[in-house]
Symmetry: D2
Subunit: 354 residues, 4 copies
């Protein structure tokens, strides 16, 4: 019940705390016979890695993944893929100041209440460091997906929005700037803003858009496991996420049915795609697109008043190395979770009809 | 894998098509010893029932639930609760006109492609009629939750918004109008708008807000099964839902960390609640609140061009009895899914620590 | 967690007590496109039905199954198959004498302790009446299995054994006698013995053998979900079962490796089959065969001393209509559970390799 | 679906091949607040370790477990416990002779057919080396079980049987001899026989008995997840197991109901215990006892004819270091699987009634 597994057939189970000896996971249910590109997996990890640019946390971690099983002579064997990422940067003493302190809007209080005990070193299990394991599994999922493309990019940082639909941008621009916004001008504006926010010792939220192209018709399992329901859960399980919408999303609520309906072309495609590639919880072959809302990181470099485990008010100093804005590094995580979701539905769908 | 089960311990599995002989479900994992108020269950069903007011579909269904097992002398026995709601209104011939036609923005096309066959009578399994079974289970969940209150209400219809936070409204107003909006003036405005939309043969979307109060600290299972991730999935699994946000949601993305952090009071409660009652995926004892986006119903009383199963363009006449706006009847469904989610986490939490 | 679901992809969830209004279930995950032979399903139910011969319980139940969903124009649609069997014979007053009494070697005591409450009418949920739902699902599974044959027969009644291997008997004899033993002479002996046991107001145990033929290579999921592990669980979940063995079973433990190894033929088949058609938890294409041990039915028509819910010694009269020996009616149940197990593994195997 | 997870709440997922860099696993759902005795875990591993005595395989492996997460300052934290055992003895070249050869009664053929590819080094995933991970998790489960004792011992080796019930033996004798048979004289006889078998280059089967004492009333989840059904599955999932029986087992099938029924004492205990501590799938507080049948190890030091992957007959030489009889080392594995089963049911049972 402890919730560390994602997926039904292509199943990822993760372990690890931010300041323990290692994090890692087991992928069970990966079909045999997949020639793995290990370099591509490390490339995805590098996209999520701390220290990759001036606008992310400067914590240094090589984030090198080691595979322990499930791969033989470069190919998946159908047995579980165990992998480990050693934590090189375990400065546990950095965290003695928060041992008995509940940081505002962190999980310190809730973990302590739920479990009666907490690994207080840097967030422990609640740290987003855990998402590195997701990126490993997502990178393998991407290789299974072949022609199905999973793309994410930064859509807004604070109030600075891209203000373009995904059709209007050039995905090849995404990796050309540290913000991962596919618009050079906007990216610069966002980057400058993030630097300013950092200089204030503050943080800021943002949104990430995801697009999944070339999805075959038929993925998703009604009624509870609709494609967008699992995709939404996948996104909401990422640290700091506060909202999810797909297709027309919240803006679709103000439309009339006559405006919102996607009329068919003769080949089964649709003239518009307000449905976001999903009808009745099942992919219809059109692009799936969605937006994910990230709150500002709770760790700020400012003094805050908070409480300790005895319920006493204590002063708390901002300290440590943290992201001023999480969305640039969230991009590969969003992609990973989307890839895991789609892969699982693909494998589920092999048994849907005779 | 077919996705008709919700929950891990308190598990609901549903069956049934809109125009088959019956719909129903099995609740497995309900603890023994719960004195059931059967009338309260029927009351919830009546809140979802077609024909309940002038602004919803006029299809007539008594929606009377029959329990077949799991209850003895008024009390749950710990064995699975089987229940059935007979469909009284199976006018199958009404649907002959859509037998070979794929209605725009319905699941006709995707079901046919996924399964190779489709019960074309009125949406079959993809009909929101299935949600009656959820309301039955949710009503039982509510009785298990005792002091934990689950409340939902209509927050907007098209562009007409309530424009108040949940703290600013009086929940006792919700059931006083057919729209289920806790503001008499706004409700009237919404009602008039829905009637106008109907007279145009059109439909409109809207949003529903949910609030869960008196939640104990500690519910939710990191990392993948965070409370809000499961809650989001629960909501996104409801027909016509396009988005979900909780706490500060999408609007929280434009805030700074220094504005967004919820500072603690000495008792562990927080001064603000932008977190929405959840930190690190675990309830913190504050109110959980969220918003759900519903698209306009796809069935409109207007002529549309569409395609048939041979890929030929065909004209399609608007016909039948449908909701011009789904949100008034969605309120009890949102409550049911929220109650199921919280109940399941409560039962999961009994084994979290020694 | 309450354990009323069997299977991972082809999933059966059952409900119902022996003296409630109905029993039934939901099959989720049945592939679409299966033309169902409904008569064949009823035929299987009739093989399990009470009152079918002079050597089984004389309780009268038509055991007519009604399908509520998942089937359209005779074909499965991929949506959940809900079904119900109404209990016609609910003589609840028959059971007032055991309301506060714990019958020896029944589940009365354990249910009461576990759940704090018990439906005392005729065993309630612990009654083997529940297995009728398994037979319905198993009959559908058999139709999915097509060429894969699932056969069971009575191998012993008390000390009267068939003393032949499955290769030595003619399966077409099984249904020719009420015992379901594929040897006319032995069957008569067993029948006479059962009648004698009944006249003494007593009961007796026995064994049932199962054979699964034409199984493709590759079914079963190591390491925990080995084919024989799930098959064993399936059998052990049947009421009154005390043991399970497959292939060489317990008698294989006295052999040497040089005697036990199954040497290969050039086509991958084996010269002997002590492995029982399974190697490393995966089917190897040879016949799967197994034996299931059933204890004597606990309800005897003799007086016994027992205790009531207050822990007081009470005298208990044998009363009611019960099977003197369970194995003849267990045959279709064993087949059903075997069919469910194999079907589930077939569907799981669709995603094992690229 | 790939079956590498055991348990529903206390869940063990394992990974690793016999000749890969490491094996290991993740335990998810272990309650927080358990002070772990790490030495006791290593002690259990040592009981399973190769090379521990003259009658087991002489392969050398330190089998030292490393924990990567879920434990903080000696205590479980409620987060997943990741652990790894590095394989020190990876003499891969030893196995080149079987690269294209299917060993009789091994999983070589079935893995190759199922997955299209196989890690041929020493059995890969199908090797019993995987069970070391089970022993780690079982050792933690034992610490959770506190007063509930889980004991196993060797009951027979080939035709040499202990011929005593578990009540007649002294469990403190078990670890006093390398066979793990709680009868010094029989143990010597068995040991001599195993040595003789080894000198013949052969192997032999045997049986292991298990006893679980001080089990509270109420564990087990009817109807499919009966205590003995899961326990049987747990045992059948161990390499080389061919059968499982509990309580009166196969010998109970020849008894009459009047002989088999366990009459109650006034305190709810029973005068006899042919039920084996379980009624209706739920523990009744009496001792749970069972027997597990192990076939002879398939790897023999004799020449055998077999086939290669092209279906050609090839000669095969016996070679390598293997157990002449698996039961002495199986004892801690049986205990581990029993402990995992009971622990999971204990945690499941926390939500069975109000």
């Amino acid at each position: 019940m402890a919730g560390n597994t994602f997926g039904k057939i292509f199943k990822l189970t993760t372990f690890g705390e931010s300041h323990g000896p290692a994090i890692g996971g087991i992928i069970d249910g990966c079909p045999a016979g997949l020639q793995l590109d290990l370099e591509a997996i490390q490339t995805e990890l590098n996209r999520r890695k701390p220290g990759q640019s001036a606008i992310v946390t400067q914590r240094k971690e090589p984030d090198a993944v080691q595979f322990y099983s499930g791969i033989f002579e470069g190919e998946t064997t159908g047995t579980p893929i165990g992998f480990v990422i050693h934590n090189s940067n375990q400065k546990s003493k950095d965290y003695s100041h928060i041992k008995d302190t509940f940081r505002p809007s962190h999980a310190d209080f809730t973990y302590t209440e739920k479990y009666g005990v907490r690994d207080y070193r840097g967030g422990g299990r609640s740290s987003a460091r855990e998402t590195a394991s997701r990126v490993v599994a997502g990178a393998i999922a991407k290789q299974l997906l072949k022609d199905i493309e999973v793309i994410a990019y930064v859509n807004s940082v604070g109030k600075i929005g891209l203000n373009k639909t995904y059709q209007e941008v050039d995905f090849s621009e995404i990796e050309k700037n540290p913000v991962r916004c596919p618009d050079a001008a906007k990216a610069q504006e966002m980057e400058a803003y993030i630097k300013q926010i950092r200089s204030e010792g503050d943080t800021v939220g943002g949104t990430v858009c995801g697009v999944i192209r070339n999805v075959p018709v038929g993925l998703g399992e009604p009624v509870f496991d609709k494609l967008h329901a699992e995709l939404g859960k996948a996104m909401l399980s990422i640290n700091a996420v506060k909202g999810f919408e797909y297709g027309s999303g919240f803006s679709g609520t103000v439309l009339k049915g006559s405006e919102h309906n996607d009329l068919f072309n003769e080949d089964g495609s649709t003239q518009t795609n307000l449905s976001g590639g999903i009808q009745g919880g099942i992919s219809n072959g059109m692009d799936i697109y969605f937006t994910v809302a990230f709150k500002p990181v709770a760790t700020i470099m400012q003094n805050q008043e908070t409480i300790n485990s005895k319920g006493e008010k204590v002063a708390m100093q901002g300290k440590g190395r943290h992201d001023p804005c999480v969305v640039p590094r969230a991009v590969p995580i969003v992609e990973a979770m989307a890839a895991l979701t789609i892969t699982d539905f693909m494998l589920q769908n092999t048994a849907s009809k005779l």
